[in-house]
């Protein structure tokens, strides 16, 4: 019999509600809470362990939580990993997504969770794990775990590729070619689609274009000589030891580093950890990505009022829009507090 592990939060483990949300990760043998519903549907594996973690602990001490849970998992054998269902609980959804993404990457094991489509965890993690659209509350427990178990059983049976539309999980942005069962050729699909489109009837594009979230261009800075300027880069320039452990691609973390009193970024003190371009030039002269050297000259010449005391860095390659806007939301309070008037974003 294959083995499954289930991740749940402190509430569904019966430990407590908000007051216990700081509960540190623990692992227990056997099944409890939502695991009983999952067990009832899951045919091809036994749930051998349940991992419990408080939602706030996962949210506030993510790295520590992941490290502890990773340690638990290294000591046991498992073939599949479930989390939740998280329903509409936002922090729980994000926690389920976080741990599923980690387990899939670290252990190469398929992960499955479920949450309501309004749960922010969906947008953040649908590309990283199988997430089924779930109910709003625990009333949907049986049906939500049933869907998770059904996919789990098929994965455990050795099936590898699943069509999002047919199975019902949120599309993961993974696209592959398939041979249509009806054998309908592209010419016929195109002409049929056009006839419908011209008649104003419904049609389904085979390549849905994601809705673009456009940000209007900011008005120009009226007087640069009085403006405070900051540098924000997705080019991955960091202090040589990468203190914030920013990932080389698909980044979820960022850092701010003081440049007070510095006239330039020295090679060997700063480097790029960006995985998407040849680092040779940026490592030899980090100022080509974070143009501190020329901005100090501008500052002295009075072309700009002042350079903000920190630069902000993350990695842009493979980073999802959702993560990027989350990181921007975290940076903005620092920039506002320092009275920054304009930002230079250097492309790479």
């Amino acid at each position: 019999m294959k083995k499954a592990v289930l991740y749940i939060n402190q509430f569904f483990a019966g430990i407590g509600g908000e007051e216990k949300a700081d509960h540190a990760p623990e692992i227990r043998e056997g099944v409890m809470g939502p695991g009983l519903a999952l067990k009832a549907s899951l045919k091809n594996a036994e749930i051998t362990h349940t991992i419990i973690c408080g939602d706030n602990f996962m949210g506030s001490n993510t790295e520590e939580a992941i490290e502890i849970i990773g340690g638990f998992l290294e000591d046991i054998e498992f073939d599949i990993f479930f989390a939740g269902p998280a329903f509409q609980a936002g922090r729980y959804g994000v926690a389920c997504g976080t741990i599923c993404k980690y387990v899939e990457e670290k252990f190469g094991v398929s992960t499955i969770t479920s949450m309501n489509d309004e749960n922010p965890g969906v947008e953040m993690f649908k590309k990283d794990t199988y997430i089924f659209p779930g109910g709003k509350s625990a009333a949907a427990m049986r049906q939500d775990t049933k869907k998770m178990a059904a996919l789990g059983d098929r994965i455990l049976a050795g099936e590898k590729r699943f069509l999002a539309e047919e199975e019902g999980f949120f599309p993961r942005g993974i696209r592959h070619q398939v041979w249509r069962e009806d054998g309908l050729i592209a010419a016929d699909r195109a002409v049929d689609m056009l006839i419908k489109k011209m008649a104003g009837e419904e049609f389904v594009s085979e390549l849905p274009i994601p809705k673009l979230d456009r940000v209007p261009i900011a008005p120009p800075v009226m007087d640069l000589s009085k403006a405070t300027i900051a540098i924000v880069t997705s080019g991955g320039i960091v202090p040589i030891d990468n203190p914030d452990k920013i990932q080389s691609s698909s980044a979820t973390r960022w850092g701010r580093y003081s440049i007070a009193g510095l006239d330039r970024l020295e090679s060997g003190v700063y480097k790029t950890i960006h995985g998407g371009y040849d680092p040779t030039v940026a490592d030899a002269n980090p100022n080509v990505v974070v143009p501190l050297d020329v901005l100090r000259v501008y500052e002295k010449e009075g072309k700009i009022g002042k350079l903000h005391d920190y630069f902000y860095a993350t990695v842009g390659t493979g980073t999802s829009e959702a993560e990027a806007s989350k990181m921007a939301g975290e940076m903005i309070p620092f920039l506002k507090e320092a009275g920054v008037d304009a930002i230079i974003q250097v492309s790479t």
Binding site: R175, I185, A186, D188, R189, E206, I209
Partner: protein
Amino acid sequence: MRLELGNFFVNKVTFGEVTGFSNGTLTINKEEAIAFVKEDEHITECDIMIANPGDETRIVPVKEAIEPRAKVDSKAAAFPGVTGDLSQAGIGRTNALKGCSVLAVGKHWGSFGDGLIDMSGEGAKYTLFSQLINICLVADTDEEFERHSQQKKNKAIRWAAHRLAEYLAKAVENQDPDEMEVLELGSISKRGSQVEELPSVVYIMQPQSQMEEKGYNDLLYGWDLNQFLPTLVHPNEVLDGAMIGGSYMCCSSKFSTYDFQNNPTIKRLYREHGKTVNFLGVIMSNLNVSLEQKERAIYFVAKLASMIGADGAIIAEEGYGNPDADFIGCISALEDLGIKTVGMTNECTGRDGRSQPLVTLDEKADAIVSCGNVSDVVELPAMKTVIGELEALSRDGMSGGWSSDEKLGPSVRPDGSIIMENDSMFCGDQICGSSPKQVREF
């Protein structure tokens, strides 16, 4: 314009004394055919081999495919500007040997845009050409200047294949075809109210023209499409040898000459004409590299479509990557003019399927038919027979092959099995319209 296609259905190809067609069998006098091919002094070595559907045969590197065609009762060339002098394509009568194709196969050397065909097994489903009887012209040439280049013009062998295709079809010159297919489409402005009341549709083709140097790009009457502005073309011209496939684009995205000659989108629009749509014709565009050239072509396409009164358009792109800008740009320009547009393309989503499918996207491109994914990895067992040279897939920079890969090893393994990207399946994504494939979310 009226074109009569005299179709001869070939269900067997064999070698024999006299080149001719009888009871579904095409017989080729091999020595004579080879002697004819070798009239071109640039062909240094040449053989003709037959590959039938179901054979345990792998053909690689394949450079071009052509349906054998010859004009009847006329001195006109089947491929004007290529196998003979210029003449008007798309009129009169043309004989066609259906169910077979002449393949231009490198005896040794492959290039970036060459492809692979498996005649049976799992690999057969990746290309339409596994379903045809392939008359393989396996040749080497004296084109030393490009012997070890990744990009090759492959001119001698491609032209040899066009000439051989015409040579074979001439064998049925005095015979009655199995079927007469009449393709007739009159003046756009004089179709009568019944037809003109139907929604008007134009078909737009974007054939490859990215190479600045002549000799690699698709041709229209022998004219390189890089130095070209979009123009109105009669659908019969496309079906009757005016368009010649190029020697540049990654192979699964490529339009071979066979694909132009048998374009299923044109055929379907012909069938709908007068019933559900008023088929206006074809706008032939191109796919140049620089932004200014792209924009110029887009303006011309949109303007032409608007001038001829198109209500709707279908646009097909030969390629992916850089040409996605022309494709999406054109759709956007047409939609801005109120012309409802459907795009036909393939995608490049990376081996893990997670990359953005086209390099540029636009919400106006809300109706796309997606014919394949260049990056899907294909692993296939060895075949009993190889026509050409298998090592070309690993050695010669074919777009979907590689000489080494940290995880996957070389494309060609010592036991003859292969691993490659769909990118090099010969004309595998069939953006001209015969693709039974679709890209979906997993």
